[in-house]
């Protein structure tokens, strides 16, 4: 059951898809020979033999996970579901198909600048298959401070192949607009999902962007985010990762305006054979920008996490403050973290710092807590919980903070035996 396409495909979109297809045909899937993919192999993913699927089984409200916030926008298998979604005031558009039928020129303006696709094979593949996705567009000065949940549900219900879904997401905040969003990735079964997210923050715009990646443990999750930061705009993102057997998250933040603020943070909790790879670029092009990255995670069993973060400070970007930190706790000797923080600086008047730590849980605090009567498993939970909570302690939206806290608590409790 496909939603009706109310708009015929404009020529520019067909051309864009074709470009994506051509580039992807030439590059193929990235391999570890590609520096960006040094620590992550897609061989297992390739063997799964995922196929493009347009099928959306009968989904009603009862099939959806619990609503996390007051307002929710729902996508199932890559397509917007107005029937299952709440109305949100202040939005010019909600889905790409919607927006395309109302303002194709505006969509074109925001979609065509895709960057160099040959460096981003999975984005090229996504571009070849642009259909629907979320498109939240806020006019200048519109403030949506109350967080909105966007649920991306992927199912294999009624699908005979191992399905592969593509979403093309756009967030456009015009001058001075404010938006607060929680993207919630959920699903059941063995599927792959490829999200591409383009964000335009015009002058003085403020975007609080939270993500909860809780895909099925058999799923593959790819997400490529590209952020255009105009002057004095501010961006704060926290991604909580606990799902998928393989996930890869690319974030390119282009600080093209002066005095922007960009916080990219993440926490992850992995067990079994999960593999989670994050690659971040903060590219400072103009003066007095602040960018911070903090990633913290817990790895159990045979899991592996990769953190490649880079702060690039170009010559005009004087007064830049760039920081990146990666901290990981390894609960098993078979778990692995590869952290590669990088600084590349061409301006002289900057403050930049980076660091990475990894290790087992410290025994001293454990004994200290036990000596006060706290049983070892509870002491471990408390220590691990507080380790992760640092990532969420600066979130000023209480609703979002408590959602993340609940995820941490839930994961730690469900691993009580293993801890």
């Amino acid at each position: 059951m496909l939603p009706e396409t109310r708009h015929e495909n404009p020529d520019w979109l067909d051309a864009l898809r074709e470009t994506g297809a051509e580039v992807f045909a030439a590059t193929g899937l990235p391999t570890p020979a590609n520096e960006d993919w040094k620590y992550s192999s897609l061989r297992k993913y390739e063997k799964e033999g995922f196929q493009i699927s347009d099928i959306i089984g009968e989904i009603d409200t009862n099939d959806l996970p619990k609503k996390l916030l007051d307002k929710r926008i729902v996508f199932v298998n890559g397509f917007f579901q107005p029937r299952l979604s709440d109305q949100v005031e202040g939005l010019k558009a909600v889905s790409l198909l919607d927006w395309l039928s109302n303002e194709p020129e505006a969509v074109q303006e925001n979609l065509v600048d895709v960057g160099n696709l040959s460096d981003m094979p999975l984005k090229a593949e996504n571009t070849a298959h642009i259909r629907d996705g979320v498109a939240l567009v806020l006019d200048a000065g519109v403030h949506i401070e109350k967080p909105i949940e966007i649920l991306y549900l992927s199912t294999t219900k009624g699908v005979e192949v191992k399905p592969k879904y593509y979403l093309r997401n756009l967030f456009v905040l015009h001058d001075g607009a404010h938006l607060n969003v929680l993207e919630n990735y959920q699903g059941q079964g063995t599927y792959a999902v490829n999200h591409v997210c383009d964000i335009a923050l015009h002058e003085n715009a403020e975007f609080k962007h939270y993500r909860l990646q809780n895909e099925d443990k058999n799923a593959y999750h790819f997400c490529h985010t590209r952020l255009m930061h105009h002057a004095r705009s501010s961006y704060e993102t926290v991604t909580c990762t606990r799902g998928a057997c393989f996930s890869r998250h690319d974030i390119q933040s282009l600080l093209i305006g002066a005095e922007v603020s960009c916080n990219i943070n993440g926490l992850y909790m992995l067990n079994g054979v999960q593999h989670f790879d994050t690659k971040i670029l903060a590219d400072h092009m103009e003066p007095n920008g602040v960018s911070k990255q903090l990633y913290k995670g817990i790895l159990d069993d045979e899991t592996r996490a990769v953190f490649q973060g880079k702060v690039h400070v170009r010559r005009p970007a004087q007064g830049t403050d760039g920081r990146q930190l990666s901290h990981a706790v390894l609960l098993s000797t078979a778990a692995e973290i590869d952290a590669k923080p990088e600084l590349e600086i061409y301006a002289d008047d900057v403050q930049c710092a980076h660091g990475a730590t990894s290790g087992a849980l410290d025994e001293d605090p454990l004994f200290y807590m036990q000596s006060r009567g706290i049983p070892k498993d509870q002491a471990r939970r408390l220590l691990l919980g507080s380790f992760l909570s640092e990532v969420i302690e600066d979130i000023d939206c209480a609703a979002i903070q408590s959602i993340f806290q609940a995820q941490i608590d839930d994961w730690l409790l469900s691993h009580q035996g293993a801890l």
Partner: protein, 248 residues
């Protein structure tokens, strides 16, 4: 209350305690003094139940129960407390949260209900005022960024809030200036009574001017070498530990 019999303890195959026998009855304050490397801290850790300290012979009995094989938290719930020589930092866990978690964990182990939030806050307020602890400290991560004196005050705060039957104070005087030492000693003295016992471990006699012991033991070469009254501490202060160090 605490009975240690012929205790032999090894760390990484090296014997540190070599047949230590010690009894601290209810209501008494005992001091253990000894030179560096005599096994003082080992004694405190092994009584508290730290991993890595292997009891090869002998036993530790507390409140009539053999605790030699018990986990540290089980010992704590029975009413045993160790004040650390070097209190540990726990980033991200506030002192208040830590205290509440510890109190409730002990209550749970004893089959009691959680302390009510109101009672907890009342207790905390009373004890922090008594010890001259600024409320801001309670909101910070346990011992994170605390000075040496603040850490020791925090130990005594935990001691007085957890209200154990028996407390070991391991070199509580180290790193304290005289004012902090007095405050800490007052906190301990306020808890003394016929139902509580203390084992004060120290290298110097100074602390014992403020926490007056009933009995003083000299520990050297992994054994109690001598036991006496408070005058023994003064004797040690004058003569030093030489006679015990050379005894072996």
């Amino acid at each position: 209350m605490l009975k240690i019999k012929n205790l032999h303890v090894e760390i990484d195959g090296k014997e540190i305690l070599k047949g230590l026998t010690l009894e601290v009855p209810k209501g008494e304050v005992h001091a253990i003094m000894g030179p560096n490397g005599s096994g003082k801290s080992t004694l405190s850790y092994v009584v508290a139940g730290r991993d890595g300290y292997e009891v090869t012979k002998g036993s530790i009995e507390f409140m009539g129960k053999d605790i030699t094989e018990m986990d540290p938290d089980e010992r704590a719930a029975l009413g045993l407390f160790l004040g650390f020589q070097y209190p540990v930092e726990i980033p991200g866990v506030t002192t208040t949260n830590f205290l509440k978690t510890a109190i409730n964990a002990q209550r749970k182990a004893r089959g009691e209900d959680d302390i009510s939030p109101v009672d907890f806050l009342k207790l905390q307020k009373a004890k922090t005022e008594q010890l001259g602890i600024v409320p801001d400290m309670l909101k910070r991560g346990v011992n994170v960024g605390f000075s040496g004196g603040e850490k020791k005050r925090n130990e005594v705060l935990q001691l007085s809030m957890l209200d154990p039957k028996f407390a070991i104070l391991d070199e509580t005087d180290s790193g304290l200036d005289i004012d902090a030492l007095k405050t800490v000693a007052e906190g301990v003295n306020a808890m003394r009574g016929s139902e509580k016992s203390f084992l004060v471990i120290t290298h110097y006699q100074r602390l014992l001017d403020y926490i007056k012991p009933d009995v003083v033991h000299v520990l050297a070469h992994g054994k109690i070498q001598k036991t006496g009254g408070p005058e023994l501490a003064h004797e040690l202060e004058e003569k030093g530990y030489e006679e015990y160090i050379n005894a072996a």
